[in-house]
Protein backbone atom coordinates (compact mmCIF):
# COMPACT_ATOMS: atom_id res chain seq x y z
CA UNK A 1 0.00 0.00 0.00
CA UNK A 2 1.23 3.45 -0.84
CA UNK A 3 1.02 6.23 1.70
CA UNK A 4 -2.03 8.40 1.16
CA UNK A 5 -1.69 12.14 0.84
CA UNK A 6 -4.76 14.12 1.80
CA UNK A 7 -4.25 16.98 -0.58
CA UNK A 8 -6.32 20.11 -0.94
CA UNK A 9 -3.72 22.26 -2.67
CA UNK A 10 -5.25 25.22 -4.53
CA UNK A 11 -5.92 24.25 -8.15
CA UNK A 12 -3.80 26.21 -10.57
CA UNK A 13 -5.38 26.41 -14.02
CA UNK A 14 -8.04 28.93 -15.08
CA UNK A 15 -10.45 26.09 -15.86
CA UNK A 16 -9.94 24.57 -12.40
CA UNK A 17 -10.18 27.87 -10.54
CA UNK A 18 -13.50 28.71 -12.17
CA UNK A 19 -14.72 25.13 -12.53
CA UNK A 20 -18.14 25.78 -10.98
CA UNK A 21 -18.89 29.00 -12.87
CA UNK A 22 -17.79 27.57 -16.23
CA UNK A 23 -19.73 24.33 -15.75
CA UNK A 24 -22.90 26.20 -14.86
CA UNK A 25 -22.48 28.77 -17.67
CA UNK A 26 -22.02 25.82 -20.03
CA UNK A 27 -25.28 24.33 -18.76
CA UNK A 28 -27.13 27.66 -18.86
CA UNK A 29 -25.90 28.63 -22.35
CA UNK A 30 -27.30 25.37 -23.70
CA UNK A 31 -30.78 26.32 -22.50
CA UNK A 32 -30.60 30.10 -23.03
CA UNK A 33 -29.85 31.41 -25.59
CA UNK A 34 -28.96 28.34 -27.69
CA UNK A 35 -31.90 26.09 -26.79
CA UNK A 36 -34.42 28.92 -26.98
CA UNK A 37 -33.00 29.94 -30.36
CA UNK A 38 -33.15 26.38 -31.71
CA UNK A 39 -36.85 26.15 -30.83
CA UNK A 40 -37.63 29.44 -32.65
CA UNK A 41 -35.35 28.50 -35.55
CA UNK A 42 -36.98 25.09 -36.13
CA UNK A 43 -40.51 26.47 -35.86
CA UNK A 44 -39.59 29.20 -38.36
CA UNK A 45 -38.05 26.74 -40.79
CA UNK A 46 -40.96 24.33 -40.46
CA UNK A 47 -43.21 27.17 -41.67
CA UNK A 48 -42.49 25.88 -45.16
CA UNK A 49 -44.85 23.06 -44.10
CA UNK A 50 -47.18 24.59 -41.50
CA UNK A 51 -47.46 27.73 -43.63
CA UNK A 52 -49.50 25.68 -46.08
CA UNK A 53 -52.52 26.01 -43.80
CA UNK A 54 -52.53 29.78 -43.49
CA UNK A 55 -53.49 30.60 -47.10
CA UNK A 56 -51.10 33.56 -47.27
CA UNK A 57 -50.96 33.19 -51.02
CA UNK A 58 -53.93 31.90 -52.91
CA UNK A 59 -54.03 29.94 -56.16
CA UNK A 60 -51.09 27.84 -57.28
CA UNK A 61 -48.59 29.82 -55.22
CA UNK A 62 -46.80 27.93 -52.48
CA UNK A 63 -48.24 29.22 -49.21
CA UNK A 64 -45.42 27.53 -47.26
CA UNK A 65 -42.76 29.35 -49.25
CA UNK A 66 -44.59 32.65 -48.75
CA UNK A 67 -44.94 32.11 -45.01
CA UNK A 68 -41.27 31.19 -44.66
CA UNK A 69 -40.25 34.25 -46.70
CA UNK A 70 -42.46 36.39 -44.49
CA UNK A 71 -40.73 35.02 -41.34
CA UNK A 72 -37.27 35.57 -42.83
CA UNK A 73 -38.22 39.12 -43.80
CA UNK A 74 -39.27 39.76 -40.21
CA UNK A 75 -35.94 38.45 -38.85
CA UNK A 76 -33.99 40.55 -41.33
CA UNK A 77 -35.96 43.64 -40.31
CA UNK A 78 -34.58 43.36 -36.76
CA UNK A 79 -32.20 46.18 -35.83
CA UNK A 80 -28.50 45.32 -35.36
CA UNK A 81 -29.06 41.77 -36.60
CA UNK A 82 -25.32 41.09 -36.89
CA UNK A 83 -24.74 42.10 -33.25
CA UNK A 84 -27.64 39.88 -32.15
CA UNK A 85 -26.11 37.02 -34.12
CA UNK A 86 -22.58 37.52 -32.79
CA UNK A 87 -23.42 38.01 -29.11
CA UNK A 88 -26.69 36.07 -28.95
CA UNK A 89 -25.73 33.08 -31.07
CA UNK A 90 -22.23 32.65 -32.41
CA UNK A 91 -20.29 33.42 -29.23
CA UNK A 92 -22.62 31.39 -26.96
CA UNK A 93 -22.52 28.46 -29.43
CA UNK A 94 -18.71 28.70 -29.64
CA UNK A 95 -18.48 28.81 -25.83
CA UNK A 96 -20.86 25.85 -25.41
CA UNK A 97 -19.07 23.88 -28.16
CA UNK A 98 -15.48 24.44 -27.04
CA UNK A 99 -16.20 23.74 -23.36
CA UNK A 100 -18.55 20.89 -24.28
CA UNK A 101 -15.94 19.13 -26.40
CA UNK A 102 -13.37 19.68 -23.64
CA UNK A 103 -15.73 18.18 -21.04
CA UNK A 104 -16.74 15.34 -23.35
CA UNK A 105 -13.12 14.25 -23.78
CA UNK A 106 -13.17 13.15 -20.11
CA UNK A 107 -15.77 10.51 -21.02
CA UNK A 108 -14.99 6.80 -21.54
CA UNK A 109 -18.29 5.31 -22.73
CA UNK A 110 -18.95 1.77 -21.48
CA UNK A 111 -22.28 0.77 -23.04
CA UNK A 112 -20.78 -2.58 -24.04
CA UNK A 113 -20.68 -3.71 -20.40
CA UNK A 114 -23.50 -1.57 -19.01
CA UNK A 115 -26.08 -1.38 -21.84
CA UNK A 116 -28.71 0.60 -19.94
CA UNK A 117 -30.96 3.04 -21.76
CA UNK A 118 -29.66 5.92 -19.61
CA UNK A 119 -26.08 4.95 -20.49
CA UNK A 120 -26.91 5.05 -24.22
CA UNK A 121 -28.55 8.44 -23.67
CA UNK A 122 -25.36 9.65 -21.96
CA UNK A 123 -23.20 8.32 -24.82
CA UNK A 124 -25.47 9.77 -27.51
CA UNK A 125 -25.37 13.17 -25.77
CA UNK A 126 -21.61 13.28 -26.40
CA UNK A 127 -21.81 11.89 -29.96
CA UNK A 128 -24.56 14.38 -30.82
CA UNK A 129 -22.37 17.15 -29.40
CA UNK A 130 -19.43 16.25 -31.64
CA UNK A 131 -21.56 15.81 -34.78
CA UNK A 132 -23.63 18.88 -33.86
CA UNK A 133 -20.54 21.12 -33.75
CA UNK A 134 -19.55 19.97 -37.25
CA UNK A 135 -23.09 20.35 -38.55
CA UNK A 136 -23.63 23.84 -37.12
CA UNK A 137 -20.28 24.98 -38.52
CA UNK A 138 -21.15 23.67 -42.00
CA UNK A 139 -24.68 25.09 -41.76
CA UNK A 140 -23.62 28.60 -40.71
CA UNK A 141 -20.52 28.73 -42.91
CA UNK A 142 -22.38 27.78 -46.08
CA UNK A 143 -25.72 29.55 -45.63
CA UNK A 144 -24.79 32.56 -43.51
CA UNK A 145 -21.12 33.29 -44.22
CA UNK A 146 -21.40 32.41 -47.91
CA UNK A 147 -18.74 29.71 -48.09
CA UNK A 148 -20.32 28.51 -51.33
CA UNK A 149 -17.32 26.31 -52.21
CA UNK A 150 -18.72 23.88 -49.63
CA UNK A 151 -22.16 23.83 -51.28
CA UNK A 152 -22.73 21.33 -54.12
CA UNK A 153 -23.87 23.46 -57.04
CA UNK A 154 -22.38 26.52 -55.36
CA UNK A 155 -25.69 28.12 -54.40
CA UNK A 156 -25.45 31.36 -52.42
CA UNK A 157 -28.28 31.64 -49.88
CA UNK A 158 -29.98 35.04 -49.85
CA UNK A 159 -32.58 36.40 -47.46
CA UNK A 160 -34.69 37.77 -50.31
CA UNK A 161 -35.05 34.32 -51.86
CA UNK A 162 -34.90 32.34 -48.65
CA UNK A 163 -36.79 29.19 -49.68
CA UNK A 164 -35.58 28.79 -53.26
CA UNK A 165 -31.87 29.28 -52.50
CA UNK A 166 -32.12 27.03 -49.44
CA UNK A 167 -33.81 24.32 -51.52
CA UNK A 168 -31.05 24.62 -54.15
CA UNK A 169 -28.31 24.41 -51.51
CA UNK A 170 -29.90 21.26 -50.05
CA UNK A 171 -30.61 19.65 -53.45
CA UNK A 172 -27.19 20.41 -54.95
CA UNK A 173 -28.64 21.86 -58.17
CA UNK A 174 -31.08 24.52 -59.40
CA UNK A 175 -33.69 21.94 -60.21
CA UNK A 176 -32.58 18.33 -59.80
CA UNK A 177 -31.76 16.50 -56.58
CA UNK A 178 -28.13 15.42 -57.17
CA UNK A 179 -26.17 12.73 -55.37
CA UNK A 180 -24.07 15.39 -53.63
CA UNK A 181 -27.29 17.16 -52.73
CA UNK A 182 -28.68 13.95 -51.29
CA UNK A 183 -25.58 13.70 -49.05
CA UNK A 184 -26.08 17.27 -47.87
CA UNK A 185 -29.75 16.61 -47.23
CA UNK A 186 -28.90 13.43 -45.32
CA UNK A 187 -26.31 15.33 -43.27
CA UNK A 188 -29.02 17.89 -42.44
CA UNK A 189 -31.44 15.15 -41.34
CA UNK A 190 -28.81 13.51 -39.12
CA UNK A 191 -27.48 16.84 -37.85
CA UNK A 192 -30.82 18.36 -36.84
CA UNK A 193 -32.06 15.07 -35.36
CA UNK A 194 -28.97 14.76 -33.16
CA UNK A 195 -29.20 18.42 -32.11
CA UNK A 196 -32.87 18.07 -31.16
CA UNK A 197 -31.95 15.03 -29.07
CA UNK A 198 -29.04 16.98 -27.56
CA UNK A 199 -31.39 19.79 -26.51
CA UNK A 200 -34.14 17.52 -25.14
CA UNK A 201 -31.68 15.40 -23.17
CA UNK A 202 -29.77 18.51 -22.13
CA UNK A 203 -32.95 20.03 -20.70
CA UNK A 204 -33.47 16.84 -18.71
CA UNK A 205 -29.92 16.70 -17.30
CA UNK A 206 -29.79 20.47 -16.67
CA UNK A 207 -32.63 20.03 -14.19
CA UNK A 208 -30.44 17.51 -12.32
CA UNK A 209 -27.32 19.67 -12.59
CA UNK A 210 -29.05 22.69 -11.05
CA UNK A 211 -30.90 20.53 -8.53
CA UNK A 212 -34.46 21.18 -9.75
CA UNK A 213 -35.37 17.49 -10.05
CA UNK A 214 -34.11 15.43 -7.14
CA UNK A 215 -36.48 12.49 -6.59
CA UNK A 216 -36.70 9.67 -9.09
CA UNK A 217 -40.36 10.57 -9.68
CA UNK A 218 -39.50 14.22 -10.39
CA UNK A 219 -36.80 13.13 -12.84
CA UNK A 220 -39.26 10.76 -14.53
CA UNK A 221 -41.99 13.43 -14.82
CA UNK A 222 -39.59 16.08 -16.16
CA UNK A 223 -38.23 13.40 -18.52
CA UNK A 224 -41.69 12.90 -20.00
CA UNK A 225 -42.00 16.65 -20.61
CA UNK A 226 -38.53 16.76 -22.20
CA UNK A 227 -39.49 13.79 -24.39
CA UNK A 228 -42.61 15.63 -25.54
CA UNK A 229 -40.58 18.77 -26.29
CA UNK A 230 -38.05 16.66 -28.19
CA UNK A 231 -40.74 14.84 -30.18
CA UNK A 232 -42.43 18.11 -31.18
CA UNK A 233 -39.10 19.67 -32.20
CA UNK A 234 -38.14 16.52 -34.11
CA UNK A 235 -41.39 16.83 -36.06
CA UNK A 236 -40.63 20.47 -36.84
CA UNK A 237 -37.02 19.66 -37.82
CA UNK A 238 -37.97 16.80 -40.14
CA UNK A 239 -40.79 18.86 -41.68
CA UNK A 240 -38.35 21.65 -42.44
CA UNK A 241 -35.62 19.47 -43.98
CA UNK A 242 -38.01 17.30 -45.99
CA UNK A 243 -40.08 20.37 -46.93
CA UNK A 244 -37.09 22.19 -48.41
CA UNK A 245 -35.48 19.15 -50.04
CA UNK A 246 -38.73 18.33 -51.86
CA UNK A 247 -39.41 21.95 -52.83
CA UNK A 248 -39.35 23.03 -56.48
CA UNK A 249 -36.86 25.94 -56.44
CA UNK A 250 -38.21 27.47 -59.65
CA UNK A 251 -41.76 27.72 -58.34
CA UNK A 252 -40.52 29.02 -55.00
CA UNK A 253 -38.52 31.70 -56.84
CA UNK A 254 -41.70 32.86 -58.60
CA UNK A 255 -43.50 33.27 -55.29
CA UNK A 256 -40.56 35.12 -53.75
CA UNK A 257 -40.22 37.45 -56.74
CA UNK A 258 -43.92 38.25 -56.57
CA UNK A 259 -43.61 39.01 -52.84
CA UNK A 260 -40.55 41.21 -53.42
CA UNK A 261 -42.35 43.12 -56.18
CA UNK A 262 -45.37 43.47 -53.92
CA UNK A 263 -43.24 44.96 -51.16
CA UNK A 264 -41.51 47.54 -53.32
CA UNK A 265 -44.22 48.37 -55.84
CA UNK A 266 -46.48 51.29 -54.88
CA UNK A 267 -50.13 50.40 -54.56
Amino acid sequence: MTSVPVSDAAPASFLDKHAFLLRRLHSLSGVVPIGAFLIVHLITNASVVWGLINQRESGDNHAGVATFQHEVNFIHSLPALLLIEIFGLWLPIAFHSVLGVYYATSSRPNVAHYPYQDNWRYTLQRISGYVGVLFIFYHVATLRWGWTFLVPGGTQWTADHAASTLAMALRGHESDLTLAGLLVAAFYMVGVSLLVFHLANGLWTAAITWGLTISREAQRRWGQICFAIGAALMLAAWSAVIGFVTLDPAKALETENRMKAGQTAPH
Partner: protein, 274 residues
Protein backbone atom coordinates in the same frame (compact mmCIF):
# COMPACT_ATOMS: atom_id res chain seq x y z
CA UNK B 1 -0.38 -48.28 -4.43
CA UNK B 2 -0.37 -45.34 -6.81
CA UNK B 3 -0.75 -41.89 -5.35
CA UNK B 4 -2.55 -39.16 -7.20
CA UNK B 5 -0.95 -35.75 -6.97
CA UNK B 6 -2.80 -33.87 -4.24
CA UNK B 7 -2.88 -30.78 -6.47
CA UNK B 8 -4.63 -32.50 -9.37
CA UNK B 9 -8.36 -31.88 -9.50
CA UNK B 10 -10.21 -35.19 -9.40
CA UNK B 11 -13.86 -34.37 -10.02
CA UNK B 12 -16.14 -37.38 -10.13
CA UNK B 13 -17.12 -38.35 -13.65
CA UNK B 14 -20.77 -37.48 -13.20
CA UNK B 15 -20.06 -34.11 -11.56
CA UNK B 16 -20.57 -31.01 -13.71
CA UNK B 17 -17.78 -28.47 -13.81
CA UNK B 18 -17.81 -24.79 -14.62
CA UNK B 19 -15.04 -23.09 -16.59
CA UNK B 20 -13.41 -20.06 -14.92
CA UNK B 21 -11.42 -17.61 -17.03
CA UNK B 22 -9.40 -15.47 -14.64
CA UNK B 23 -7.32 -12.39 -15.43
CA UNK B 24 -4.15 -12.64 -13.38
CA UNK B 25 -1.36 -10.20 -12.62
CA UNK B 26 1.72 -10.81 -10.45
CA UNK B 27 1.92 -7.27 -9.11
CA UNK B 28 1.74 -3.54 -9.85
CA UNK B 29 3.13 -2.78 -13.29
CA UNK B 30 3.34 -6.45 -14.25
CA UNK B 31 1.57 -7.67 -17.40
CA UNK B 32 -1.85 -9.32 -17.13
CA UNK B 33 -2.46 -12.88 -18.35
CA UNK B 34 -5.42 -15.24 -18.49
CA UNK B 35 -5.64 -18.63 -16.82
CA UNK B 36 -8.50 -21.12 -17.12
CA UNK B 37 -9.76 -23.50 -14.44
CA UNK B 38 -12.50 -26.12 -14.39
CA UNK B 39 -14.19 -26.12 -11.00
CA UNK B 40 -16.71 -28.77 -9.85
CA UNK B 41 -20.17 -27.35 -9.47
CA UNK B 42 -21.44 -27.66 -5.89
CA UNK B 43 -24.97 -26.80 -4.81
CA UNK B 44 -25.05 -23.18 -3.61
CA UNK B 45 -21.47 -22.48 -4.65
CA UNK B 46 -20.44 -18.89 -5.30
CA UNK B 47 -17.42 -17.24 -6.90
CA UNK B 48 -15.57 -17.09 -3.56
CA UNK B 49 -16.08 -20.79 -2.84
CA UNK B 50 -14.81 -21.58 -6.35
CA UNK B 51 -11.74 -19.39 -5.77
CA UNK B 52 -11.19 -21.33 -2.53
CA UNK B 53 -11.43 -24.60 -4.49
CA UNK B 54 -8.88 -23.28 -7.02
CA UNK B 55 -6.59 -22.24 -4.13
CA UNK B 56 -6.69 -25.87 -2.97
CA UNK B 57 -6.22 -27.17 -6.55
CA UNK B 58 -4.12 -24.51 -8.38
CA UNK B 59 -3.89 -26.32 -11.71
CA UNK B 60 -5.08 -24.82 -14.99
CA UNK B 61 -7.21 -26.72 -17.53
CA UNK B 62 -3.98 -27.40 -19.47
CA UNK B 63 -2.72 -29.30 -16.39
CA UNK B 64 -0.12 -26.65 -15.56
CA UNK B 65 0.47 -26.06 -11.84
CA UNK B 66 0.13 -22.40 -10.94
CA UNK B 67 -0.05 -20.16 -7.89
CA UNK B 68 -3.31 -19.74 -5.92
CA UNK B 69 -5.30 -16.70 -6.98
CA UNK B 70 -5.18 -13.63 -4.77
CA UNK B 71 -8.44 -11.90 -3.91
CA UNK B 72 -9.89 -9.76 -1.12
CA UNK B 73 -12.88 -10.79 0.95
CA UNK B 74 -14.10 -10.44 4.50
CA UNK B 75 -17.77 -10.59 5.47
CA UNK B 76 -19.06 -12.99 2.77
CA UNK B 77 -22.55 -11.49 3.16
CA UNK B 78 -22.39 -8.39 0.92
CA UNK B 79 -21.91 -5.79 3.62
CA UNK B 80 -18.15 -5.10 3.49
CA UNK B 81 -17.55 -4.61 -0.23
CA UNK B 82 -14.04 -6.10 -0.11
CA UNK B 83 -14.66 -8.89 -2.65
CA UNK B 84 -15.90 -6.54 -5.40
CA UNK B 85 -14.64 -7.60 -8.84
CA UNK B 86 -15.77 -7.96 -12.45
CA UNK B 87 -17.80 -11.14 -12.92
CA UNK B 88 -18.43 -11.71 -16.63
CA UNK B 89 -17.45 -8.10 -17.24
CA UNK B 90 -19.92 -6.63 -14.77
CA UNK B 91 -18.97 -5.25 -11.38
CA UNK B 92 -20.45 -6.93 -8.29
CA UNK B 93 -19.57 -8.62 -5.02
CA UNK B 94 -18.21 -12.09 -5.72
CA UNK B 95 -19.55 -13.50 -2.42
CA UNK B 96 -23.15 -13.13 -3.59
CA UNK B 97 -22.35 -14.17 -7.18
CA UNK B 98 -24.03 -17.59 -7.08
CA UNK B 99 -22.74 -19.88 -9.82
CA UNK B 100 -26.15 -21.44 -10.49
CA UNK B 101 -27.69 -18.00 -11.06
CA UNK B 102 -24.90 -16.92 -13.41
CA UNK B 103 -25.27 -20.11 -15.46
CA UNK B 104 -29.06 -19.75 -15.40
CA UNK B 105 -28.58 -16.32 -17.04
CA UNK B 106 -27.12 -18.15 -20.04
CA UNK B 107 -23.38 -17.80 -19.39
CA UNK B 108 -21.32 -20.84 -20.40
CA UNK B 109 -18.23 -19.79 -18.47
CA UNK B 110 -17.34 -17.29 -15.76
CA UNK B 111 -14.69 -14.64 -16.30
CA UNK B 112 -13.17 -12.91 -13.30
CA UNK B 113 -11.23 -9.65 -13.61
CA UNK B 114 -10.02 -7.09 -11.09
CA UNK B 115 -11.89 -3.78 -10.93
CA UNK B 116 -10.53 -1.59 -13.74
CA UNK B 117 -10.71 1.76 -11.92
CA UNK B 118 -8.18 0.96 -9.18
CA UNK B 119 -4.54 -0.18 -9.37
CA UNK B 120 -4.12 -3.95 -9.16
CA UNK B 121 -2.22 -5.21 -6.11
CA UNK B 122 -2.20 -8.77 -7.36
CA UNK B 123 -4.66 -10.88 -9.40
CA UNK B 124 -8.15 -9.83 -8.28
CA UNK B 125 -7.05 -7.67 -5.33
CA UNK B 126 -7.03 -3.90 -5.97
CA UNK B 127 -5.89 -0.87 -3.97
CA UNK B 128 -8.85 1.44 -3.26
CA UNK B 129 -6.76 4.00 -1.35
CA UNK B 130 -7.96 6.84 -3.62
CA UNK B 131 -11.55 6.10 -2.67
CA UNK B 132 -10.78 6.45 1.05
CA UNK B 133 -8.64 9.51 0.39
CA UNK B 134 -11.60 11.13 -1.38
CA UNK B 135 -13.77 10.39 1.67
CA UNK B 136 -11.21 12.28 3.77
CA UNK B 137 -11.09 15.19 1.31
CA UNK B 138 -14.91 15.36 1.47
CA UNK B 139 -14.77 15.33 5.30
CA UNK B 140 -16.95 12.25 5.47
CA UNK B 141 -17.39 12.25 9.24
CA UNK B 142 -19.36 13.83 12.08
CA UNK B 143 -17.12 16.15 14.14
CA UNK B 144 -17.71 15.28 17.78
CA UNK B 145 -14.23 15.69 19.26
CA UNK B 146 -13.93 18.25 22.07
CA UNK B 147 -12.16 18.87 25.33
CA UNK B 148 -15.30 18.65 27.44
CA UNK B 149 -18.61 16.81 27.39
CA UNK B 150 -20.90 18.76 25.05
CA UNK B 151 -24.00 16.91 26.12
CA UNK B 152 -26.57 15.24 23.94
CA UNK B 153 -26.62 16.08 20.23
CA UNK B 154 -29.62 17.57 18.42
CA UNK B 155 -32.66 15.38 17.99
CA UNK B 156 -33.65 13.78 14.70
CA UNK B 157 -37.10 13.05 13.28
CA UNK B 158 -37.95 9.49 12.23
CA UNK B 159 -38.54 10.73 8.67
CA UNK B 160 -35.07 12.23 8.38
CA UNK B 161 -33.60 9.14 9.99
CA UNK B 162 -35.37 6.90 7.48
CA UNK B 163 -34.11 9.01 4.58
CA UNK B 164 -30.54 8.91 5.83
CA UNK B 165 -30.53 5.23 6.78
CA UNK B 166 -30.19 3.92 3.23
CA UNK B 167 -27.35 6.40 2.60
CA UNK B 168 -25.55 4.96 5.63
CA UNK B 169 -25.50 1.49 4.06
CA UNK B 170 -22.75 2.48 1.60
CA UNK B 171 -19.87 0.02 2.07
CA UNK B 172 -17.32 1.82 -0.17
CA UNK B 173 -17.28 -1.19 -2.50
CA UNK B 174 -16.76 1.00 -5.58
CA UNK B 175 -19.36 -0.59 -7.91
CA UNK B 176 -20.71 2.90 -8.73
CA UNK B 177 -17.20 4.09 -9.60
CA UNK B 178 -16.41 1.03 -11.71
CA UNK B 179 -19.57 1.46 -13.83
CA UNK B 180 -19.16 5.24 -14.18
CA UNK B 181 -17.96 6.47 -17.60
CA UNK B 182 -16.73 9.68 -15.94
CA UNK B 183 -14.57 7.99 -13.26
CA UNK B 184 -11.14 6.87 -14.42
CA UNK B 185 -8.21 4.96 -12.99
CA UNK B 186 -5.48 7.22 -11.59
CA UNK B 187 -2.34 5.21 -10.85
CA UNK B 188 -0.42 8.24 -9.56
CA UNK B 189 -1.77 9.72 -6.31
CA UNK B 190 -0.59 13.14 -7.52
CA UNK B 191 -3.46 13.01 -10.05
CA UNK B 192 -6.17 12.28 -7.47
CA UNK B 193 -6.68 15.95 -6.71
CA UNK B 194 -9.13 17.25 -9.30
CA UNK B 195 -10.19 13.84 -10.63
CA UNK B 196 -13.91 13.03 -10.36
CA UNK B 197 -14.81 11.68 -6.91
CA UNK B 198 -17.79 9.61 -8.12
CA UNK B 199 -21.29 8.84 -6.86
CA UNK B 200 -20.38 7.22 -3.51
CA UNK B 201 -18.58 10.34 -2.24
CA UNK B 202 -21.40 12.63 -3.42
CA UNK B 203 -23.92 10.44 -1.59
CA UNK B 204 -21.79 10.36 1.58
CA UNK B 205 -21.57 14.17 1.56
CA UNK B 206 -25.37 14.28 1.39
CA UNK B 207 -25.48 11.78 4.26
CA UNK B 208 -23.17 13.80 6.52
CA UNK B 209 -24.62 17.19 5.50
CA UNK B 210 -28.09 16.01 6.53
CA UNK B 211 -26.82 14.80 9.89
CA UNK B 212 -27.72 17.44 12.52
CA UNK B 213 -24.17 17.54 13.91
CA UNK B 214 -22.38 16.57 10.70
CA UNK B 215 -23.88 19.61 8.97
CA UNK B 216 -21.35 21.80 10.84
CA UNK B 217 -18.91 20.92 8.04
CA UNK B 218 -21.49 21.40 5.26
CA UNK B 219 -19.84 24.48 3.71
CA UNK B 220 -16.42 22.82 3.58
CA UNK B 221 -17.90 19.79 1.85
CA UNK B 222 -19.88 21.87 -0.67
CA UNK B 223 -16.80 24.00 -1.43
CA UNK B 224 -14.94 20.78 -2.16
CA UNK B 225 -17.72 19.44 -4.40
CA UNK B 226 -18.08 22.75 -6.28
CA UNK B 227 -14.55 22.44 -7.62
CA UNK B 228 -12.89 20.25 -10.24
CA UNK B 229 -13.70 16.60 -9.68
CA UNK B 230 -16.86 17.52 -7.78
CA UNK B 231 -20.54 17.14 -8.58
CA UNK B 232 -20.24 19.05 -11.88
CA UNK B 233 -18.11 16.25 -13.34
CA UNK B 234 -21.11 13.90 -13.24
CA UNK B 235 -22.33 13.13 -16.76
CA UNK B 236 -25.73 11.69 -15.76
CA UNK B 237 -25.24 8.26 -17.29
CA UNK B 238 -26.95 6.96 -14.11
CA UNK B 239 -25.07 3.65 -14.24
CA UNK B 240 -24.14 4.10 -10.57
CA UNK B 241 -27.66 3.65 -9.22
CA UNK B 242 -28.20 0.53 -11.34
CA UNK B 243 -25.10 -1.33 -10.14
CA UNK B 244 -25.30 -0.28 -6.46
CA UNK B 245 -25.72 -3.53 -4.48
CA UNK B 246 -27.24 -1.62 -1.54
CA UNK B 247 -29.82 0.09 -3.81
CA UNK B 248 -28.77 3.51 -2.53
CA UNK B 249 -30.61 6.25 -4.50
CA UNK B 250 -27.30 7.63 -5.81
CA UNK B 251 -28.82 9.70 -8.62
CA UNK B 252 -31.09 11.42 -6.09
CA UNK B 253 -28.03 12.14 -3.95
CA UNK B 254 -26.23 13.61 -6.97
CA UNK B 255 -29.19 15.90 -7.77
CA UNK B 256 -29.50 16.85 -4.08
CA UNK B 257 -25.81 17.80 -4.01
CA UNK B 258 -26.35 19.70 -7.29
CA UNK B 259 -29.08 21.73 -5.59
CA UNK B 260 -27.01 22.22 -2.42
CA UNK B 261 -24.00 23.42 -4.43
CA UNK B 262 -26.20 25.78 -6.49
CA UNK B 263 -27.62 27.38 -3.34
CA UNK B 264 -24.23 27.39 -1.62
CA UNK B 265 -22.57 29.23 -4.52
CA UNK B 266 -25.40 31.74 -4.89
CA UNK B 267 -25.16 32.49 -1.15
CA UNK B 268 -21.41 32.87 -1.45
CA UNK B 269 -21.80 35.23 -4.42
CA UNK B 270 -24.14 37.50 -2.50
CA UNK B 271 -22.19 37.17 0.75
CA UNK B 272 -24.99 35.43 2.67
CA UNK B 273 -23.42 33.96 5.82
CA UNK B 274 -26.10 31.51 6.95
Amino acid sequence: MTTASPTMPQPAARQRTVRFRIERCDGPGKPARWENFDVPLEPGSNVISCLQWIAAHPVTVEGVKTTPIVWDSACLEEVCGACTMLVNGRVRQSCTALIENILADGASEITLQPMSKFPVVRDLAVDRARFFNDLKRAKGWVPIDGVYNQGAGPGETPDAQAERYVLSTCMTCGCCLEACPQYHKEEDSADWNGAFVGAAILSQVRYFNEHPTGSILKKDRLDFLSGPGGVNDCGNSQNCVKVCPKEIPLTESIAAIGRAVTIHQIKKFFGVKR
